[in-house]
């Protein structure tokens, strides 16, 4: 056990898996010589050589498209897209090719491919770097989506994702790369996709969050605790598969729920969570389920207004208080 940052945990998982599985390769922009713009792949090229750690041309569609072919040939590619916003340049390859090849070939050709992409705001980046677009990918049949909030889960989920025969979009909270630090077990372990985590136990209200919103929920829960409110936090850890059972068990217990996401409100993944709660825990609810989300605006590229966009502790605490008062 060691305290590691999220980026260290990711790097450790990539390294140990390349050691374990000779079929695995890493490809993407700046992943080899530079070790990734966030250093997630630092040291891999020196250790595993240029055939297994590859700086590709700056072209997202062929990074994903080539990964489809590499996987069909029997390799296990782990592709890095530098920021999730730029994955739109590969959206057709992800949604129509990567996620469908198993079905299209009726099981003959699989796509054991993991696409790693940082996302989310709070780092004063330029336009398109910060957008939380996970809901767009959650509508893609055949794809799985992991979104860890802790370093421990980042390692375990990344190992599970790489080993999963299905393609996985592995979302990494940009703001948490170095801010998130926690105990990471040594050695090999996986965190199963589709199992949410009770990040904090509570009895009065359920807060559902994932990735970069989990630390926000934890701070809000601390503030609420000082007022005598016991909030339970469910960290989804993966959006597809979605662990509805854990969410429902919590809401049945608390009777109230608030779902928080970074992305714009309309048709966001929070809507999916709210719907699932209303389908399966409606008669346990004592108040309408609330959403706390980014507004339906472009993510601002002016750092001055980023704080208005991102759901923060104060907004979440306010929503919880309104839910409790309802």
């Amino acid at each position: 056990m060691a305290v590691l940052s999220m980026i260290e945990a990711i790097r450790g998982a990539l390294t140990s898996e390349m050691e374990r599985d000779e079929r695995m390769m890493v490809l993407g922009q700046d992943v080899a010589t530079l070790g990734g713009v966030f250093r997630a792949t630092d040291g891999l090229a020196a250790r595993f050589g240029p055939e297994r750690v590859v700086d590709t041309p700056l072209a997202e569609s062929s990074i994903v498209g080539a990964s489809v072919g590499l996987a069909a040939s029997g390799l296990v590619p782990v592709a890095e897209i530098q920021f999730l916003g730029f994955a739109h340049l590969a959206f057709h390859q992800i949604a129509h090719q990567l996620a469908r090849l198993r079905y299209r070939s009726q099981g003959r050709l699989g796509c054991q491919v993991t696409i790693r992409a940082p996302f989310g705001g709070g780092v004063r980046a330029l336009e398109i770097h910060s957008d939380a677009y996970e809901a767009m990918y959650a509508q893609v049949p055949g794809l799985k989506i992991a979104a860890p909030a802790t370093a421990r889960d980042a390692k375990g989920l990344l190992l599970a994702s790489i080993r999963d025969e299905d393609p996985v979009l592995f979302l990494e909270p940009l703001r948490g790369y170095r801010l998130v630090k926690d105990d990471v077990p040594d050695g090999d372990y996986t965190v199963e996709l589709g199992q949410a985590r009770v990040a904090r136990a509570g009895t009065d209200v359920t807060i559902v969050a994932w990735s970069g919103m989990v630390p926000v929920a934890e701070r809000a829960a601390e503030t609420l605790a000082a007022d005598g409110v016991s909030a339970e936090i469910i960290d989804l850890r993966s959006l597809v598969p979605l662990d509805v059972d854990t969410i429902v068990a919590s809401v049945v217990k608390t009777g109230r729920a608030v779902v928080v996401q970074e992305g714009p409100m309309t048709a966001g993944f929070a809507s999916e969570v709210v719907t699932s709660i209303s389908e399966e825990a409606f008669y346990s609810l004592e108040a309408p389920v609330a959403r706390v989300t980014g507004p339906d605006t472009p993510y601002p590229f002016a750092a001055a207004v980023e704080e208005y966009y991102l759901p923060g502790e104060a907004r979440l605490v306010g929503a919880v208080r309104r839910t409790l008062a309802a």
Partner: protein, 378 residues
Amino acid sequence: MTSRSNTKAAPAHRVDLEARVGKAGERHVPPILLPDGTLAPGAECPLGDEAVIEALVLMIRSRLVDDRGVSFQRQGRIGTFSEARGQEAATAGSALALDPATDWVVQAYRELPALLRQGMSLTQYWMLFIGHPDGWAFPADVNVFPLQIELGTQLPHAVGMAWGLRLQRRPGVVIGYFGDGASSEGDFYEAGNLAGVTEAPVVLFCQNNGWAISTPRQKQTRAETIAAKAAAFGIPGYVVDGNDVMAVYAVTKEAVERARAGGGPTLIEAQTYRLGAHNTADDPTRYSAKEEREDWERRDPLARLRTYAINAGLWDKERDEELAERTYAEIDDAFREAQERSAARTPAMLFDHVYANPPARLERQRRLIEEEEGLWLS
């Protein structure tokens, strides 16, 4: 295939590198089989006798399948159908340069002769057009990527697969087919660029048939040829008469051998013409000139090879009739089998193979539809 006592082995043909060179360095492969079915002066047939017959049989079979396919569509027995008519030499010639045991075809959608050469069954082909998932399911010994419907999107797959084979020190070469229209797609440029950088053993093979539905080749690019774009990828580019099955074979064979030997990718532009419609929903008389279509009818690649084979004593009218009779019977048997197999439909066909390890909620959706199955089909 009938073996003949006077069978001649294939000569060691090399593409004439002194051929005409385009503005961007792309080489125009000299003709071998002329439109009248004779060999160009000084040219030698690069195919052995058996391979000439194999090419001819592939092309005839493809043409007969097209005939039946259009008729089945008109009768409402299959969905929209696309013919390979007029383009058979481009795909038969290029596919003959492959070893089906190790090499892969990544198809666009107008490559029936290549699919047949790789070993696809006609039953599977009909199931695709009837609309059954097994139409996509190439058996393990048929090295073909399943049909996907976006344009150019398959080319990065071809490059990735070729790159992966090379990384694993496996012997295969991959041919990625696309059309003149798809050469305007971004994925073509990304794939060509990545192929060059990775030196993947891939042949990017453009069937330039002059028309992307109604859009003529001149509106796709101002470049002199599509092969000219190879210069930007740093790889060799060739233009070949796509209706000259021998020249197509020769240039593809050389590209495949180069790729297999570690010499990297090649871009080939086969200039051909779609004698049929884009598909059964299309009407070429709305955009192409009658004279143009008639001119290309005179350059029909199938008539050309048939004439050559007859003159060479490799083929005759009787064989032609016997092949047609046998092929029609095979087509109709395959269609019957495809119809029988396609009659079975279950909710499992929606859900099987979407995931290797499906999410629990998808399994719940499956159970729901299975429980309601009686309602749907009643």
